[in-house]
Amino acid sequence: MRIGIDVGGTHTDAVLLDGDQVVSAIKTLTTADVSGGVFNALEHLLDDSAVETDRIEAVMLGTTQFTNAVVERRQLSEVAAIRIGLPSGRGLPPMTGWPGDIAGELGGHAYMVHGGTLYDGRPLAELDAGEIATVVADIRRKGLDTVAISAAFSPMAAAPELAVAEQLRAALPGVNITCSHQIGRLGLLERENAALLNASLLAFSDRVVRSFSEALVRRGLRCPFYISQNDGTLMDAEFVRQFPALTFASGPTNSLRGASKLTGLEDAIVVDIGGTTSDIGVLQGGFPRESNVVIEVGGVRTNFRMPDILAIGLGGGSLVRDDGHSIGPRSVGHKLVTEGLAFGGSTLTATDLLVAAGKLDLGGDARPVSLAPAVVANGLATIGRMLNQGIERMLPSKDRLPVVLVGGGAVLVSGELEAAARILRPEHAGVANAIGAAIAQIGGEVERLVSYSEEPREDAIRRLSREAHANAVAAGADPATVRIADIEETTISYMAEGSTRLRLKAVGDIARINKGVAA
């Protein structure tokens, strides 16, 4: 048996799965210390199901904590950005093009030094130990303990980044460092941005991982725990500690995968309606369709691989204006339960429209809502129009697809949607993310330096595909489900013609839990 937990900004959800079956599901509130919420969820789940802790093989966590930290500009550490690349790039220093508020959160500490590599492997400029020492002294003077290092062409030649990291570690023991070559591919600005965001999350990531671990131990769970990443595979605790940015889009990924699991559908549109937005994603062959374009996280360009999500400003707490002709994007968010009309507040929200129409019974202390019939009719039509347009935009072809509604705001859809072939509201839809985390996949990676002049490219890719496949299976993936998810080639020009670093990732469903599950 395994447990999936989704730690969101408002709710912490947990599910207990026995193989494919949902044994128990619970929705609790996220607590400020995270650990308390996770403990509560585990407590409820295990009490409800009366399952002994030693029967739990693993706990899989999905969390939007790190994405939210970037989007909401909180919990971010100040970071010194060191770019190695002068005399090139002087006009576009680190954090160019960033929204001012997030650049401010990181402290705006941008340094540029000589060095880096050219496309052909020759040095762009020599590293200047004196220049670096000046930067290090300034970082020490400012009391900064976190650094992101980037260098021109570092995915092809990591040495300059590593040399500067070494000099920093020697001078500033205990310093946290993210090097850009560890986290991104060619594209200096996006790779540098990814390294900066990652570095700014390192301290927070340490706290989050520790609090997860504490909650599990406190509830008597001694099994391994994993955290899901962008591509729907799992990482172990140590890896997350170093690369929290890799969790950025795990929320939508888990939601889509959970919706597929709950409905058995491989090809569908999934609409996750929350308090503020509706996130529309597409399932293809049971997996989230990936975005092809450069993705912004909190307004910062990165080049992570992420699911293609269209977020529209429509949620349960969205403000209704203009006699129902206009809804959102402003929302009362999690204050819906105090500010919405149905909860005794004074703000007309999307949820109130449904209550007034008699299509939603909130139960408990909720109050009746009385609105002009025209406002209700307009409002419901606006909700339908917004969702139909969003779904139309995401449809892969002109054929309509089934639409799966998940998330707490799914109650906003009372009837049919023209853009949907049919609408599904699976049981446990409210905890789709936690289910997605519980069924996260196992990855197997392989990275090798190959020479296409000695081994034809196709042969090399075939050979490494087999190896990645084997690694995934060894890590616990079901062989029948393993597929190649990513192929990345980086030319290493300074070596013999045809030298390439080839990285492949294979992923598959979990067949069994064992050590070394994360790639």
Partner: protein
């Protein structure tokens, strides 16, 4: 003459990537630099070619090299200004206006950066109407404009001057210079009079590119949804019709920097039929599109690959395994279909062993199997 401010840059850059047919360098960094320039120096005058004085002295400016390099060796305002300074010093006179090599990609923005810094106009038009990998393929030399005097600066600010009047020798020299200077240089070349420019330029491509960017922005949607508005824009332009060539998933893509170019192939497989594979050959730009051996389009006609879901154009260096894409073909400006121009841009000039056939003809004779 209209004023070009930083608010137009996003549209110009989006249109320019579409016209870049896979090459032209990363537009984002060029756009950042152009924004800085227009914010610092104010808007630039965009001058229609016919408004230019016959005796005016114009030079073409832009980047030369492998587009992949522009992802790492970032351009700067200083490099554009230094190139212009070096050019003026070389020829001993002031320049009246700037023009771009190619509207496709980042090179559409470099003249704007330099013109903003100098307070001189930029001409609405370019020397390709698209992007192409080599100097002799520009309309300027094909129309008789000499490539030199020319200068190039590299990332260190090192200046190289060129004097040969032979366009093929010039291309060899400047390519060699780019190769040994980090893979990307900024060059000022093909100086010409207003009179020469009017005869040689592909006109109004800057304003067309802005209009194209606006259509892409206003009709955000997938490639199927955007087809009609795009086709309508191209129908009434110097380009021919827009044709949908293929939609599918990138199953393989590989380019390498060879001899100062990004060289490679991409394979795109139909969503519903694994046996249908479109092969795209790449030399900085997308050169040919062949479906299971049948040619669907080739240079000098334009081949553009867009993200199927968002219709965002994807450059060759950003093509990746698993991407879902649509491939469009567009007729090239009429200039390139003349016998004189085809001497420099026909498929044979890129090493292919077949003659150029216009895209309308290829599409009309496309067999059902393709």
């Amino acid at each position: 003459m209209i004023k070009l401010g930083s608010e137009s840059l996003a549209d110009l850059s989006a249109g320019a990537v579409f016209l870049a047919t896979g090459g032209g360098g990363d537009p984002y960094v060029a756009q950042l630099v152009a924004e800085q320039a227009l914010d610092t120096y104010g808007p630039v005058d965009l001058m229609a070619p016919e408004e230019l004085d016959d005796e005016a002295y114009v030079v073409a400016i832009g980047g030369v090299g492998a587009p992949t390099v522009s992802l790492e060796l970032l351009p700067s305002i200083d490099e554009a200004i230094a190139t212009l300074d070096a050019f003026e010093q070389r020829v001993g006179r002031r320049i009246d206006a700037l023009v771009s090599f190619e509207i496709g990609g980042g090179n559409s923005l470099i003249p704007i950066v330099a013109a903003a810094a100098r307070g001189i106009p930029v001409i609405d038009g370019d020397g390709m109407g698209r992007a192409l990998p080599e100097a002799q393929m520009m309309t300027y030399p094909i129309s008789g404009v000499l490539p030199t005097p020319a200068v190039a600066t590299d990332y260190e600010g090192k200046v190289t001057t060129f004097d040969t009047t032979d366009i093929l020798a010039f291309e060899r020299d400047i390519r060699q210079c780019a190769l040994s200077s980090g893979g990307m240089i900024t060059s000022a070349e093909h100086p010409m009079s207003g009179r020469q420019l009017k005869a040689a330029i592909v006109p109004n491509t800057v304003s067309f590119s802005i209009a194209l960017g606006r259509v892409l922005r206003a009709n955000r949607g997938n490639a199927r949804q955007i087809f009609e508005p795009l086709a309508a824009l191209f129908r009434d332009s110097i380009y021919g019709g827009l044709h949908h060539l293929f939609t599918g998933k990138v199953v393989d893509s590989s380019t390498r920097i060879i001899g100062g170019y990004d060289i490679g192939q991409a394979h795109i497989q139909a969503f519903d039929d694994e046996s249908r594979v479109l092969n795209i050959s790449i030399k900085n730009e997308y050169l040919t599109a062949e479906l299971n051996g049948q040619l669907l389009a080739s240079v000098p006609d334009l081949i553009t690959i867009v993200d199927y879901e968002t219709s965002t154009p994807i450059n060759a260096e950003r093509l990746r395994f698993g991407q879902r894409v649509t491939v469009f073909g567009i007729g090239c400006p009429a200039f390139y279909r003349s016998a004189r121009a085809l001497e420099f841009v026909a498929p044979g000039c890129f090493g292919f062993d077949f003659d150029y056939r216009p895209i309308e003809e290829l599409v009309a004779t496309r067999t059902p199997a393709a």
